[in-house]
């Protein structure tokens, strides 16, 4: 049962990511795309966690952890760029 659940959920997450990517492509505005990117990061976390469960190993959790941190940071960077142009000032 668990494996099926994992499979279904993974598919759903992939679908979600695909949709985000669609938004990233069509835009229209840069903040839109950025939001899409950020959401992709978040969904990627879910996907990786599921993958870990599927292989039933915790080896991939660091990846998720890093995405959680670094995805945020890159979003911040782009926002800062949009707002101030110079991200380290």
């Amino acid at each position: 049962m668990l494996t099926n659940a994992i499979a279904i959920s993974a598919l759903l997450f992939m679908l979600a990511i695909a949709l985000n990517f669609y938004r990233l492509i069509i835009g229209p505005s840069i903040p839109d795309r950025l939001a899409a990117l950020d959401t992709m990061y978040v969904n990627a976390i879910g996907a990786i966690i599921l993958f870990g469960m599927w292989l039933n190993t915790t080896l991939y959790f660091e990846a998720a952890l890093l995405i959680a941190m670094l995805g945020f940071i890159s979003t911040v960077a782009v926002c800062k760029y949009l707002l101030r142009g110079d991200i380290i000032e």
Partner: protein, 930 residues
């Protein structure tokens, strides 16, 4: 071993004049003379042995792999030349002392001269062809320096360049020939080569070898059609001409002929090429010697003609001819050197070399007149002088030559013609210069030269006469020895004598003498005859051809190198893809035997997004920010791919690097245009698309081919030894910090260097900062959004904890120094972003360069540490510790190494990003200041 000294002493001697430049001209000259004198003594010491038929040799390894060793030999031929080079060299040193004027730097001249002497001695004594070639080119170089000694005269410069070009080119041909010969014989040792006459002459490479060697020889001794450089080399100071262009350097060519005579001669090719060249040179030189108006020009052309004569002699495939050739080498050296010196004296005392002005000098310098007269008589081949003997032999041999069949009579005829001309120009040299009326408007009033300036000439003249009268005693032994080296098999019966009775040769020289006088008397007709030809200036045509070569080279270069990196990139990639494609063509089938893995929808979706993101990056590359967003999607999915295919470490690293890269590009983008203008032509775009598609195709098929083939991995060793050897369970990390620790050390060093280089590049970088973004919106006034700054502050310790955590577990589970370092760096960058440089700097008041350097140092020291316990570099030892929550970890020395990696990564990354961020700070003062 003492044999080496013959070459070494002059080499050392080239330093003496420089050292003793201060201590007066005469002293300098004497000091310089000492070492060659000693070398001459050594040669003399060897002489009995050589005459006794022994062959002193010495050999040291230099580059055995190339068959190149420092080997010298001293057979008869070498000895003869050693005597010439050193003996005449000493005389020249003496002569030059008085010839050179006060303003000429004497030490420089002597240094060049000694260098040349060394080279010359090297050629004649080398026992290894490559070594000989080395010295051969050295003579070209040093002669370049000597001819260009008066570098303020364009004449001298041009002449020197010409000489260098011609002889240097010939030298390269010689090298090719030597390599071929070495290939045939299988050794470059002269001794060995000389034993393989048949082998060489049978081999199919004989013609090329012969041709290349002859090219070398002919260019060096100014044989037709390469003779043109010699007259222009007369721009050199006369001592140089006397030394190089009579006695030594131009003799190197004929020396080569003599040296290779045993192996190369005796074939028809040899006969035809060498004889005809020699004959042509003989006549050409003789004719122009007769009509030149420049004193040294006359001598130069006469030298050419005599070299032709010697070549001709070597051309006849008869032993006696070779003997005559060697003999004439000696004679020519003696009388021609003295003639040059005499001409030098005239030039020196009268201030001109123009024969039309020089007349009747005998009144002013009777003594010199006598010397010159004797020398030129010897050149003309007047009996009782050495020139006569060798000319006799020459004429005799010319009668022997039968190879031309029905036309054989032409050789003696032409030979006689040559000697007729030589008589004529010798006569002219004397009569026009020293007699024949009064001198016309000379710059100076001539008078006898200083005593010691004449001494060298006197000595040489003395030799001429002695040899001429008592050849048997004077030269026969050395001639025998030399011939033994030149002529294979048992030496021919040499009988040097003044009087062979009334015979054809004698008659021929009688004809030559009388006809020569006649020709001289009729010279004006010859001038008139010659004047109708347009004079070709060899130098101009040479310079012109050089220019043409340069221009064509420039043209060829411009075809490729038009300064556009874009174009270079294209060419580079094109060639790369061609190479790769050819590699792929050898692969019989694309797909290997390995069974494929099934697809699953998740992977397909991911792959699709990855590709689309890549394409998006390309399509939107004009709107740079957007393409960055797509780029980060690519990065994320690449790392997901790594995770998917069981490489967690890679996934982590890729993630961190991707974020860092985005931040970096963002920072840079601020200073760069936001949009890329449309400038590449449609043709270029389509061309590039085509190339990149081909490239992608090649890579894809290559990758597929690899993936579908069963692979045998070499990693089993690492897998087995990871725990016992490295004390870590994460094999990837153990490989990084332990097995391949040395590579990692190199890599972090590169990282540190890159960081420092960037730090330097940013130094005093002046950029302009847009005050608004691309839509012209002014920047938001809110510098540090409150929420962001507070959150990032709370996040900081947590994130650093994570980085430490990743670092500590890295040895056993995914993680490690690289990743942890990147994470830490990124987090600190977050603080920079949210709080600004001032704030951060105030709290983290240290530079990052030291951190990076410390990191590299720690890593290196860890490696060295294992030496203390005399283990090999980077051997790791480890013990177990149990830390709650993180679990059992080894504190291995590898851990220390990893710490080094960690610090380096943190340091360099921050060095790059923080410094880049700081660029703007001084220009945008923050609120905290006020």
């Amino acid at each position: 071993m003492t044999l080496l000294l013959i070459v070494l002493l002059p080499l050392v001697g080239s330093l003496v004049p420089i050292a003793s430049a201060r201590s007066g001209r005469t002293t300098c000259a004497w000091l310089t003379a000492i070492l060659p004198a000693i070398a001459l003594g050594i040669a003399a010491w060897y002489t009995p042995a050589v005459f006794g038929g022994q062959l002193p040799q010495v050999s040291l390894d230099w580059v055995p792999a190339l068959g190149l060793d420092i080997a010298f030999r001293l057979d008869g031929l070498s000895l003869l030349f050693v005597y010439l080079v050193l003996g005449i060299g000493l005389l020249i040193i003496l002569y030059a002392r008085y010839y050179l004027s006060e303003k000429d730097s004497m030490s420089r001249f002597y240094a060049y001269l000694m260098l040349f002497m060394t080279a010359m001695l090297g050629i004649v004594t080398a026992d290894n062809l490559l070594l000989m070639w080395f010295f051969w080119e050295l003579t070209s170089l040093s002669s370049f320096l000597l001819i260009g000694y008066w570098s303020h005269l364009s004449e001298a410069r041009k002449g020197a360049r010409m000489a260098l070009t011609v002889t240097g080119a010939g030298g390269l041909c010689l090298l090719a020939g030597i390599l071929l010969m070495g290939h045939v014989v299988g050794s470059y040792s002269l001794t060995t080569v000389l034993e393989h006459r048949e082998l060489i002459q049978q081999s199919s490479l004989y013609q090329p070898i012969l041709l290349l060697f002859l090219l070398g020889a002919f260019t060096k001794s100014a044989q037709f059609p390469f003779q043109f450089w010699l007259p222009h080399a007369m721009a050199a100071p006369t001592p140089v001409s006397a030394y190089l262009h009579s006695a030594t350097m131009v003799k190197a060519g004929v020396f080569l002929l003599a040296r290779m005579y045993p192996v190369l001669s005796g074939t028809d090719e040899w006969f035809y090429i060498v004889t005809l060249t020699g004959l042509a040179t003989l006549l050409y030189g003789a004719f122009f010697a007769l009509i030149k108006q420049d004193l040294k020009g006359v001598l130069a052309f006469s030298t050419i003609s005599h070299l032709g004569l010697i070549t001709l002699l070597f051309g006849f495939n008869s032993k006696l001819a070779a003997v005559a050739g060697v003999f004439h080498i000696i004679n020519h050296a003696t009388f021609k050197a003295s003639l040059f010196m005499a001409a030098g004296i005239v030039d020196h005392e009268c201030g001109t070399r123009d024969i039309r002005k020089l007349n009747g000098l005998w009144r002013y310098m009777p003594y010199t007149t006598v010397l010159a007269a004797v020398a030129s008589a010897s050149m003309a081949g007047v009996p009782l002088l050495n020139g006569f003997l060798s000319k006799e032999m020459f004429l005799a041999q010319s009668l022997e030559a039968q190879m031309l069949g029905g036309l054989s009579w032409m050789i003696p005829a032409l030979a006689t013609l040559g000697s007729v001309l030589s008589v004529a120009y010798s006569l002219r040299f004397i009569h026009d210069v020293f007699f024949n009326g009064e001198p016309r408007d000379l710059p100076k009033t001539p008078h006898e030269p200083p005593r010691y300036m004449r001494l060298p000439i006197e000595i040489l003249i003395l030799l001429c006469i002695m040899v001429g009268i008592l050849p048997g005693i004077m030269v026969e032994p050395i001639l025998r020895a030399a011939t033994a080296a030149v002529v294979p098999g048992q030496a021919p019966e040499i009988h040097l004598a003044l009087w062979h009775g009334f015979n054809l040769p004698l008659m021929m020289s009688a004809i030559a003498l009388s006809a020569g006088v006649l020709v001289y008397l009729l010279r004006n007709h010859i001038y008139r005859f010659h004047r109708q030809f347009r004079a070709v200036n060899a130098r101009q045509s040479f310079e012109f051809s050089v220019q043409r070569v340069v221009r064509s080279a420039q043209w060829g270069l411009d075809r490729f190198e038009n300064g556009s990196l874009q174009r270079y990139m294209f060419l580079l990639l094109l060639s790369a893809v061609i190479v790769a494609a050819f590699g792929l063509m050898d692969v019989p089938s694309m797909a290997g035997l390995k069974s494929l893995q099934p697809l699953d929808p998740v992977v397909v979706t991911g792959a699709g997004i990855l590709c689309l993101a890549g394409l998006g990056t390309v399509m939107l590359h004009r709107r740079r920010l957007l393409s960055l967003l797509f780029l980060s999607v690519v990065g994320m999915f690449v790392s997901l791919t790594f995770a998917r295919f069981s490489a967690p470490d890679l996934a982590l690293t890729q993630l961190a690097v991707e974020v860092v890269t985005i931040i970096l590009l963002m920072l840079a983008l601020f200073f760069l245009p936001q949009k890329t203008p449309k400038e590449s032509s449609g043709r270029r775009v389509s061309r590039d698309i085509l190339l990149s598609m081909i490239f992608g195709g090649v890579i894809a098929s290559l990758n597929y081919a690899v993936l579908t083939r069963p692979l045998q991995s070499i990693s089993t060793y690492f897998i087995e030894n990871s725990v016992p050897g490295g004390g870590g369970h994460n094999i990837v990390n153990v490989i990084l910090v332990d097995f391949r620790g040395f590579d990692t050390l190199g890599e972090i060093t590169v990282l540190g260097i890159a960081g420092i280089a960037i730090y330097k590049l940013l130094n005093r970088l002046r950029l302009f900062m847009p005050s608004s973004d691309m839509e012209g919106r002014p920047w938001s006034p809110d510098r540090y959004p409150v929420i962001l700054s507070s959150v990032s502050q709370t996040l900081l310790p947590l994130a650093l904890l994570v980085s430490v955590f990743i670092f500590l577990r890295g040895h056993n589970l995914p993680g490690g120094g690289f990743i942890a370092g990147l994470v830490a760096a990124v987090v600190i960058i977050l603080v920079y972003m949210s709080r600004g440089v001032e704030w951060t700097q105030r709290r983290m008041s240290f530079n990052y360069q030291p951190i990076a350097v410390t990191g590299v140092a720690i890593a290196a020291l860890t490696g060295l540490g294992s030496w203390v316990f005399n283990k090999p570099f980077l051997t790791s030892s480890f013990g177990h510790f149990d830390i709650p929550l993180i679990g059992d970890i080894e504190l291995a020395t590898a851990m220390m190494f990893d710490l080094g990696v960690y610090l380096t990564v943190v340091g360099s990354t921050l060095m790059i990003l923080a410094n880049l961020g700081k660029v703007t700070t001084p220009h945008r003062p923050s609120k905290e200041k006020q």
